[in-house]
Symmetry: C2
Subunit: 390 residues, 2 copies
């Protein structure tokens, strides 16, 4: 297996940009990534491309990837669109890594995009709900807020977790986003006020949920043995894992464990030859605040049932032992569905290279960064572990 390195990352600001087109957003992410390749890269050198999106903005439903590659100025590459609900670009990343690891390509890109502002609110509910099990969840009236609320309620019941523990993740992430110029929501929030925001699906309240977001991102990868041609600061992809599970939550063994996360992270740890103890920081899939707590446990950051105490300890705060969602996470950085997975890679790569947007949020002495990207309520999970090259 050929070793794989990231040589450039790009991302638009996350937010609502109804006046911009899909092409315009993806172009910006691509130019951003190309400019990030320190010694330059000819866009024509890109051989494989994996572009994640769920809704395609409701527009270019077929041949979506070739069209985006036109916008990126990378026509000709072997390009396809990857869909895995909210994990679309996590899997795009995974497949770009395989394209290089197989020896097929020297240079590949993984990208992601979503333009949710093009769709009316009802359409967004449809696109999103339709990532749950259509027959057994959506048609029964359940949406993701409801499903994650059930997970939260069950975790509280089984392990004594409090609503306050859940909301702590949202508060941490919203305050982390204040220092991230590319984040969507940049308003301070205190726990007392957060606990009083209106109910969304009990026990989750509005401040525990992500919003509706536009955005795009791109990661440029190459064979690790070529990386120094392009940058003195390559970042190695040392672990990659992926797994699926039953789409409907009632089919799964547990409501408080994402088996997909456990399987995916185990693959990634094995491939990297490390354990959870080695992870210095992570970007995890906090579509709802409870999802971050489940991630702590499923990724092995803390023992099953102890996520409440773990966040209370401050371990995952910016100045904690293992910062999680220092970017603001999905809740505050934003969750433009198809862009989220490669957007997480963008964040981790910049941290490992010491290139965080602002000095305030640059993590110190970090070696291993992890990303966890979840589709639906756990039907698909992609995990990556990155490491700064020596």
């Amino acid at each position: 297996m050929v070793d794989v390195a990231v040589i450039g990352v790009g991302q638009t600001r996350y937010g609502m940009f109804p006046e911009r087109t899909l092409k315009d957003l993806f172009h910006e992410a691509a130019i951003n990534a190309l400019n990030d390749v320190d010694k330059g890269l000819d866009p024509a050198a890109v051989e494989e491309a994996f572009i994640g999106t769920l809704s395609t903005g409701g527009a270019q439903l077929g041949n979506f990837a070739p069209l985006m590659m036109e916008a990126a100025g990378m026509v000709g590459a072997s390009a396809r669109h990857i869909e895995n609900a909210c994990a679309s670009s996590g899997f795009a990343m995974r497949d770009a890594v395989a394209a290089i690891a197989s020896g097929r390509a020297r240079i590949a890109v993984a990208g992601g995009i979503e333009k949710m502002s093009d769709l009316p609110r009802e359409k967004n509910r449809l696109w999103l709900g339709i990532s749950g099990d259509v027959e057994w969840e959506r048609l029964a009236g359940t949406n993701f807020a409801g499903i994650y609320a059930m997970m939260a309620r069950r975790h509280m019941h089984e392990y004594g977790t409090k609503k306050k523990h859940i909301t702590m993740a949202a508060v941490k992430n919203r305050n982390n986003a204040l220092a991230n110029p590319k984040a969507q929501f940049r308003a301070p929030l205190e726990i007392d006020r957060a606990m009083k925001t209106p109910n969304l699906a009990s026990p989750l309240s509005f401040s525990d949920a992500c919003g509706i977001t536009d955005g795009a991102s791109m990661v440029i990868l190459c064979r690790a043995d070529m990386a120094k041609e392009f940058t003195d600061q390559p970042v190695l992809v040392v672990g990659s894992g992926g797994a699926s599970n039953y789409v409907a939550i009632h089919d799964r063994k547990s409501m408080t464990t994402l088996e997909g996360t456990k399987r995916a992270v185990q693959q990634a740890y094995e491939m990297a030859g490390i354990s959870a103890d080695d992870i210095d920081f992570a970007e995890v899939h906090d579509c709802f605040a409870i999802a971050e707590l489940l991630a702590y446990e499923d990724l092995g950051f803390c023992k099953k049932g102890t996520a409440g105490k773990y966040i209370e300890s401050g371990a995952t705060a910016r100045d904690g032992k293992r910062p999680v969602n220092n970017s603001g996470g999905l809740i505050a950085k934003g969750h433009p569905i198809g862009s989220t997975g490669t957007g997480q890679i963008y964040e981790v790569v910049n941290q490992l290279r010491g290139r965080a947007d602002t000095a305030e949020r640059q993590l110190k002495n970090v070696r291993y960064g992890l990303t966890q990207n979840v589709g639906g309520s756990g039907a698909a999970v992609a995990v990556h572990i990155l490491k700064a090259a020596a």
Copy 2:
């Protein structure tokens, strides 16, 4: 790079099955493929899955692959949905090959499905048209019949090709389908009658076009060095190529060459260490009859501009020197969009193993078979070359 082998293939009959569900169709293809693994395979051993579809039947838009894997009884695999318009499962195949070649997976599946009968005729036009360039082609009123008609007209103008040459491909394929029990359209057609079918988009008439089809298919792949554990008749994937091009035809250099095909097949020939001369038979993407003629030239089966004479010579007939679309092709076997690419692999693998559905259409002395799967009017092309293992 790890060598890759096909150990089992499955496909539903192609046709219109409004009473069947997506899950039901995909389940049949999966069971069919599992049963085709001579010495048996535990479905839980599948590590990676790549499922091609365009429309998802209009139903499960997100997490489509995990849901189909449930229907296949293969829950847990790292599964994602691949979209590349009509080349969706050609790229699913390509990525399943890479997953094994990279050393990541020992066993992977590539699948494809489309259920077009769930959508009213107008919706099908929308889904299909929306694989052209939405801004420059669809909104201008152009559909694929019109685009391929322009290619045909230009080929006639530049090279003196006659409408009769184009229709010969349709007639050949429709008659080939008579012997294929899994084909959708099984009615004999003669050239004189075909020339008189109503005009679709001049010079293409109705008999020159494929129809609306439901169907699913699956290919099971493994490391070549493990293949004999599963079957005494593995088929090697010796070549794989993929490329994209501008989505709108007016952006391309030529209207009579699919640059994507040329790039993809060149990669596949290089990987296999062979040339066009070595290809014994092929399944090519004849969504419209002119596409088959262009494929002859772009794949190097004949010189540029001579496809009319080439088909007239009988070279690509069932009893010709290099049979093309012996299955009936997209025009008569059927074109359930997302299933077409892996359906082509199904046909080639069966031919190489001597397992054609009927003795009548079993090709003799074939060593190398090729598939060409096109997205849209050439925005994405995947090519594979398969060879019976010694």
